[in-house]
Each structure stands twice: as C-alpha cells, then as structure tokens.
C-alpha cells in the first residue's frame, strides 16, 4: 500500500517536482494542485515547463491561498493529489498579509483526516547564511516550522539532491 502522505523536500532545481510527479505516475486521475501565481514572467515560464512535463493525464487546479480548503475539496479516496509547492503557498500567505502561523496550524490539523493519497512538495530554505532582512528571516522560520509539521504527519519524507532521493522517514 502506498503511504497516505508523502513529503518531498529539496532545494531549488533539485528535481523534487519531477520526483513527486513520478510517485503518482501510475495514478490515472491525479490532481495537480498548483500554488504558484503566474504573476511574473519567470514564474509563468516555470509553470509552463512543469505543465508540459506532466502531460494531459493530470487535472490541474490552482489555489494560491486557501490550501486547506482546496485540499478538503479535491482530496478524494482513489484520486491522488500533488501539491506543488508548500513553500510558495506560505510565501503567498505572507504577501497577502495573512497569519502564516495560523495557516500552518490549520493545514497540519487537517492533514490526518484527508481521505486520499497526497504528495506534497516543499523547499528547504534554511541551509544558507542568515538573511539580512527581517522578513526573509521570518519567512525562513515559518518555512522550517511548516516542513517540520508536515513531516511529522507524513508516513514518508524524501529529501532530494541533484535529482536523487534520500529517505528521511518511511513508516508504512
């Protein structure tokens, strides 16, 4: 039996999205929950690159802010869902003047009751030098807490570097 919740953690361009998609490659009705907002050119190009790789078999839904609501709506037994990515969602919450701490708690509280198979992608952002500005430091702290909370709820946590997986947790 595949694990109910998998967290795929990695750096920028580490291959984490491709790895996460491959975990659901056998699922005919997978849903791709995109948290990105195609606000600028860079992001629009990245979204397009990911879409063309996934192909037509996936249903794509977009939700930049109400991730917990979107999961309740789209996560169904027998229909796996991929969230790409948690870190972008957190950034959207912060930029919209939301309360990231509360949003993380709401998400963490909802995870154990979701009925379907779920793969979540997140960035590890805390392994560089301490950022100069306070907002970046706060973001980094929230991102670290978010990763810890989702990892605690997950049955499987994989760290990706250079496209290669390292298993951090595998409870099945």
């Amino acid at each position: 039996m595949p694990p109910q919740l998998t967290l795929v953690l990695g750096g920028a361009r580490s291959g984490k999205s491709a790895y996460a998609e491959a975990l659901l490659a056998d699922a005919p009705e997978a849903v791709y929950l995109a948290t990105a907002q195609p606000g600028d050119e860079e992001m629009a190009e990245r979204i397009h690159h990911h879409q063309s790789r996934r192909g037509a078999a996936w249903t794509t839904v977009e939700e930049p802010l109400d991730l917990t609501g979107a999961l309740a709506l789209h996560c169904r037994a027998g229909r796996p869902l991929l969230v790409d990515c948690l870190t972008l969602w957190l950034s959207n919450v912060l930029l919209a003047d939301g309360d990231p701490g509360a949003a993380i708690e709401r998400l963490a509280a909802a995870l154990p009751d979701l009925p379907g198979r779920l793969v979540m992608v997140a960035n590890e952002v805390g392994l560089g030098i301490v950022p100069d500005n306070a907002l970046a430091r706060a973001f980094r702290d929230h991102a670290g807490r978010l990763n810890q909370r989702v990892a605690a709820a997950a049955q499987r946590v994989v760290f990706i570097a250079a496209g290669l997986p390292l298993m951090l947790k595998d409870h099945r």
Copy 2:
C-alpha cells in the same frame, strides 16, 4: 554506552535543538550552555521559547565568547552538557573582533579530553548561494571549518531536516 560527543547539524528551524535536547532527556542533571546573547527582541524570544520547552530540570549557563573555558568549567563526568549553538558562538567571536580560526583550534584541541557526555548543536550555512559581502563569506567559511573539526572529533554526527534525523557518523 552513549557516545561522548554528538554533533547535531541542521538548518534554521530544522528541529535540531529539540532533537539535541531529547538526546539528553534521560539525564537528570543536564547543563544547557547557551551561547546566545539576548541583545535583541528576536533573540530574546527564541531563548525564551527554548527555555520553556526544556523545563526546570536543566541548569542553564550562558557563555557567548569563552566556550572552551566554559566547557572546562562545566563539563563533568556523569553530568551531560548541551551547547546551543556553536554557530552563534562563532558569530559572537567574529563580532567581538576575536580570531575565529584560533578559537576553533582551541575548541577542537580541548574536545577529546572533556570528561562528560557532550551534545553540540550547529547550523549548516554553506548550502545557499555565495553571499555578496566578504564578511558573510568569511563567516560561512569559518562555520564550515568549525563543523568539520567538531564532526571529526565526534563519535556521532546527525543531520536534521524537517525534524528528522539522518545519521552521518555513528562510531560507538
């Protein structure tokens, strides 16, 4: 027998302090050696957060600069000690116009002779983009060397990501 020296390495908000504290949870007389200086609000809040998690069973001592001296004073057989964290100590040494290279060598030379069980927490800060300013680059280099020296002396080295441990070394 638990290892004499354990290094717990990780990113910001990776759960490394909580993991390090749990390693000494069975020790009734553990000493917490804090290297932080409660100079600003952010740091004061972080120190308070850590203190409330540890509870009253720990004795807390503070030493921002003379870490090697404090270890000689407080590290005793039968009384485990947790240093949180090495990276902040290094930063204090740099800000006080000390010689970080010499301070690292003094610490590394003292480690093998300490009589008690010792857990040291450190940040990995070298996995982001090269910093723009020379001071940050120098700090990153010193921090990397410090981690290598302590890891070489340790019997156990654990890397923490999203609250989960990855064993880098386990010589017992």
Copy 3:
C-alpha cells in the same frame, strides 16, 4: 572496479574537495583540472591552500571556460582526473556571457564517452532563501540543473556535510 564517474556534492567548506582528492589518492598520475581563475586575492589563497594539500604527485591543468574541451584533451584511460569545481566553471561561463544551458548540455553529452576515471566536485547552492537578484536566481537554477545532469550520468554521487559522506547513488 572504481566507478567511471563520481560526483562529490556539498556546501561551502564542507570538505568536498578533500574527500574528492582522497578518492584518487591511490592513483599515481592523477590530473587536477582547476576551473578557478586566480583573479582576486580570496580565490588565489584558496587555490594555494588546495595545491599545498594535494602535494606534488598531481599534475595541475587550468581551464576556466572550455571544460568539455579540456576533458576530451586530458581524460585518458588509466589516468584519473579530478574537476574542481563544476559550479565555478558555470559561474565563469555566465560571467563570460556564454550560454550556460548549452554548455551544460555539451558537458552532459560528452560524459558517457570519456575513457578515464573521473571525479567531479560541485556545490549545492539551492538550499537557502530565494536570492533577491535575478542573476543569482538564474545561476542557482543553472547550478541545480547541472548537478542533476551530472548526477544522472554518474555511477556514484556523494553528498558531503561537515566532512562526512552520505551516499546518494552507488551503481557499480
């Protein structure tokens, strides 16, 4: 039989160069392919530090830009070669207004046909906060792709933290 291609991945001052050199310590005629340019004092000092550690047994060649050409020239059966490092080479290509995407593809296409034993060192730079400036973001993306391409071609990929190895791939 040692693997044909090994990628040694790690952060700043993680001990990756020393680890990579030790992999070829038994090879009497090893070639060190340096991609650094001794343009500034910091870099000159780093190059000198690495040279004095390697000692006289190594032949050093320097090639900051045409890495694929230099590999074709110097990579020979029975004579192992160490490239230190890929990330600096990528940075040189970018600074010389080259096309990093095309350069990465040329390198990746050449790797499978090289006759000798090859060890390549690269930096992981994608695990910090998203950089403010677009050039640094582009560099980080290219560096991530480069690491993925070389890791896919390699038989062995090792991640180094605090001087300690973590095997990401070992196909022999």
